[in-house]
């Protein structure tokens, strides 16, 4: 139909307009990344050197991993803001030295811990029907409160050898973290594409009431999503701890908000049943790149927060208006 319209109006007009419409319909992250790279090309070309780009990718990997969980949560109309708390707890488990176990066992404990937190979140959200934002924010508060008060008695030590290796070393020119990211990302994409679970996630996102009345195992799906999100947070925490090299009480604190921003930028919105994994992944890179760019331009923490907040608001408004059409 648009074709017949454009033919009437002549040849010069329609193409850019259709192109603009197409670009407008893409997730923010794609256009944003291109614009950012262009901007960097003119202002800070050094950032575009392959070496630095790979470093930025390594830095983006922890965010990229939690974004997978956050986008799943958002697609089933939930949110997970407990990510920061989980990561702090992981850091404490690994580096406090309180638990007298070998490194692999510690890692397993972290995974078990993620399972537990995800399950508690899910339980409160699905059974008690409490708001996911409040539940997970409270969870983050509880976890970081406990870890910080416990940390007063133990100075954090070094991260386990193997994690530091994964977080800091590279194979050839490529950082290992990139491979870890891909190793989590690719199976997730495939699983969501082909599994019954992926279909159900779409269905719940598109119309939760319909999903409920048509007998889809709603509670089970939301539970799995929250457990997955906590597990992704644990993986991300393992990577971060290895990357930083030592334990810390403010490690990964901005990941919850950043992942939310990335998911929105990546084209996932509440209540449309649309949006995949690739958009948010690109957005994770875009955000990390933009923070580096901001730092190199001399804007510190305040600027970062303002841009983060601005991005979430603008993207959310744009998507909401787009959906209303």
């Amino acid at each position: 139909m648009s074709l017949s319209l454009s033919q009437k109006k002549g040849l010069s007009l329609p193409k850019p307009r259709d192109l603009a419409r197409y670009i407008f319909s893409l997730p923010f992250a794609y256009v944003g990344t291109v614009l950012l790279l262009l901007f960097a090309y003119y202002t800070r070309p050094a950032l575009l050197s392959p070496l630095l780009l790979l470093l930025i990718i390594r830095q983006a990997a922890p965010l990229g991993i939690v974004v997978l969980g956050q986008s799943l949560c958002m697609r089933v109309l939930s949110l997970d803001l407990s990510i920061g708390g989980v990561i702090v707890a992981v850091s404490y488990i690994l580096t406090s030295g309180v638990l007298p176990f070998s490194e692999p066992v510690l890692v397993l404990i972290c995974v078990g811990f993620g399972l537990m937190i995800g399950s508690i979140n899910a339980l409160l959200i699905t059974r008690l029907r409490a708001s996911s934002v409040i539940v997970t924010l409270a969870m983050a508060m509880i976890l970081s409160g406990i870890v910080i008060s416990l940390s007063q008695y133990h100075a954090p030590s070094d991260a386990p050898e193997i994690l530091r290796y994964i977080g800091q070393k590279r194979i050839g020119v490529f950082p290992i973290a990139l491979f870890v990211w891909l190793a989590v990302l690719i199976p997730s994409v495939i699983f969501l594409r082909i599994s019954v679970f992926g279909r159900y996630v779409d269905a719940i996102g598109a119309n939760p009431n319909a999903a409920w009345t048509s007998g889809i195992p709603y509670i089970w799906v939301v539970t799995i999503v929250h457990i997955m999100s906590s597990l992704f947070a644990v993986f991300s925490g393992l990577l971060l701890v290895g990357f930083v090299g030592v334990g810390s009480i403010d490690i990964g604190q901005d990941l919850a908000l950043n992942s939310l921003a990335a998911v929105i930028l990546g084209g996932v919105t509440f209540g449309s049943g649309k949006g995949g994994v690739i958009g948010p992944t690109v957005a994770a890179f875009m955000l990390t790149f933009s923070f580096n760019l901001l730092t190199s331009l001399g804007l510190g923490e305040p600027g970062k927060l303002m841009i983060q907040g601005g991005i979430i608001a603008v993207a959310a408004i744009v998507y909401a208006t787009r959906q209303a059409k």
Binding site: A210, G215, G273
Partner: protein, 524 residues
């Protein structure tokens, strides 16, 4: 042949109609809700707007009430074309609407609800004393005993409807819209309403009376306009038309053409689904009945009498406090109790089709294929691969005569009838053998209605069973093998579809003396 008038009757008209709809057109998505409809309403008269469900009655009135705006055409009030941009503008223009769905707020008191949006003020403060007085006065006019300080959430549906009506008449309006006002009223309440309407008429008001109840149209109204599938059919003086003529105008065809032939495959001995003594709560009546293989069973009665709760508790959506539901398993032919949660009910092979397609039924932003495929996944674990046979879907779409560009089209873009088919088709694709359907043809055009009826009959003939709720008597009488009438949450009468009449069903639905169905069963 009857004389159809579009003009006025000299005995009761002013020079200009109080309300004139001029070539009104309204679309919702791809659905043509109203197609160049023109109707005149005169001051000092009661004007019935009638037609089947989905004919466009409510849409027309929503335009007059300012809830929606027409896509084309205009509305003139006393000869002046007006733009009614929102409900407030309509109120200012002297139009008061009593909506079909209750619009009361549960957390406001009766008095507050009646004056919400036009609160009497004393300087900046709401004048609660005056508000209560006015509210009491209005309720007294209706002979109602409802306390003006009660929260509306605590009222019964019938009481809420009385409050709606009282709210409508407190408005200083010249034009009143009553949209199915008697749906939840008992007989004495209807009498009060009748009195009130005739008083308003004598005060020179125009009343639009939306109803598909023939008795009320013939009793209350001066003129009647018929809509069908969004199109204007005719306007006539009520005194110049009889029931049969009106029905044939509404339906536009004989009943026989509408419904498929009832089959003989119904096997009364073989209960597919057995509902024994379920009760929603401790103080609601117990409900027992069974659904046989090959049968289409209808739950009828006035709206809001508990049909919805019954079908929803069988579907596992509303919890019930006692009783049991057994379903005969397809494989073993043994009746086993079902855990009443939606997921378990669906696993047991029972599909539920809700009344509200948009909010509860369909995934409007997903494609037809995805909507249908979700049914096919029912028996798989979430970790399994979603194997969807697209040829299977294509065949089913073809069989159901779904009109769409392709299976990848978004469901939201389809017409009401096609959406309804998709909703039913989702369950057909998933091999259930019991369908629970609320209002199977609400908002569906006549053509699609026939196709849906055929689809359901075919499903039953193939060994399935269907339970429907319906507020359309013709549908119950034409489609169902058996009809159960629900009143006050209890089953009060049972009819064979071939033997029942409209009058009998209505009588059972209204009468307060009808014997308890369950007791009758026990005796027999």
């Amino acid at each position: 042949m009857l004389v159809l008038e579009t003009g006025a009757d000299p005995s009761m008209e002013g020079p200009v109609p109080a309300v004139e709809f001029v070539e009104i057109t309204k679309r919702f998505g791809s659905t043509m809700a109203l197609d160049t409809v023109s109707i005149k309403g005169w001051a000092g008269s009661v004007h019935a707007i009638t037609g089947e469900n989905g004919a466009g009655k409510s849409t027309l009135m929503n335009l007059l009430a300012g809830v929606h705006q027409p896509d084309a055409g205009c509305i003139s009030i006393n000869g002046t074309p007006l733009k009614l941009e929102n409900p407030k503008a309509a109120r200012i223009a002297g139009i008061s609407t009593i909506f079909q769905e209750l619009t009361l707020l549960p957390n406001l008191t009766v008095a507050e609800n009646m004056f919400l949006g036009r609160e009497p003020l004393k300087t900046a403060v709401v004048d609660r004393v005056k508000m209560r007085e006015l509210a009491e006065e209005a309720l007294a006019r209706l002979g109602s005993q409802i306390s003006v300080d009660a929260f509306c959430g605590d009222l019964s549906v019938g009481e809420q409807q009385m409050v709606e009506i009282a709210k409508g008449i407190t408005a200083d309006a010249q034009i009143f819209i009553l949209d199915e006002p008697t749906a939840a009223l008992n007989t004495p309440e209807v009498e009060k309403l009748a009195e009130l309407i005739s008083r308003m008429k004598s005060e020179g008001k125009l009343i639009f009376y939306i109803s598909h109840r023939l008795d009320e149209i013939f009793r209350f109204c001066d003129e009647v306009s018929v809509l069908k599938d969004g199109k204007y059919v005719a306007t006539s003086r009520v005194s110049e038309i009889d029931r049969d003529q009106l029905v044939s105008l509404m339906v536009g065809r004989e009943l026989g053409e509408l419904f498929p032939v009832r089959s003989t495959s119904r096997d009364q001995a073989k209960a597919l689904l057995n509902i024994s003594a379920i009760a929603i709560s401790d103080n609601t009546p117990e409900v027992s009945f069974s659904l046989s293989r090959g049968e289409i069973l209808g739950l009828g009665g006035l709206e809001g009498q508990g049909q919805r709760s019954i079908i929803r508790s069988i579907a596992g959506i509303e919890a019930f406090s006692k009783g049991e539901i057994r379903k005969t398993s397809r494989e073993t032919d043994i009746a086993v109790p079902i855990t009443p949660t939606i997921v378990e009910v669906a696993k047991a092979g029972i599909g539920f089709v809700p009344e509200d397609r948009k909010t509860e039924g369909l995934y409007l932003t997903l494609s037809i294929a995805k909507n249908m495929a979700l049914g096919m996944l029912r028996e798989l674990s979430v970790w399994r691969r979603a194997r969807v046979r697209s040829d299977h879907i294509e065949t089913l779409l073809h069989k159901m005569r779904v009109v769409a560009a392709s299976a990848n089209q978004e469901v939201g873009a389809l017409s009401g009838g096609n959406q309804q088919k998709i909703m039913i088709g989702r369950w057909l694709a998933s091999n259930v053998d019991v369908l629970l359907i609320e209002e199977p043809t609400r908002g569906v055009d006549v053509g699609a209605k026939v196709e849906i009826y055929n689809l359901l009959r075919e499903f039953a003939d193939a060994g399935g069973a269907v339970l429907i709720t319906s507020s359309e008597l013709t549908e119950l009488l034409g489609l169902c093998d058996r009809i159960l009438v629900v009143r006050g949450g209890a089953l009060v009468a049972e009819f064979e579809g071939t033997e029942a009449t409209e009058e009998e069903i209505l009588h059972a639905a209204l009468s307060s003396t009808a014997e308890n169905y369950n007791k009758k069963e026990e005796v027999a």
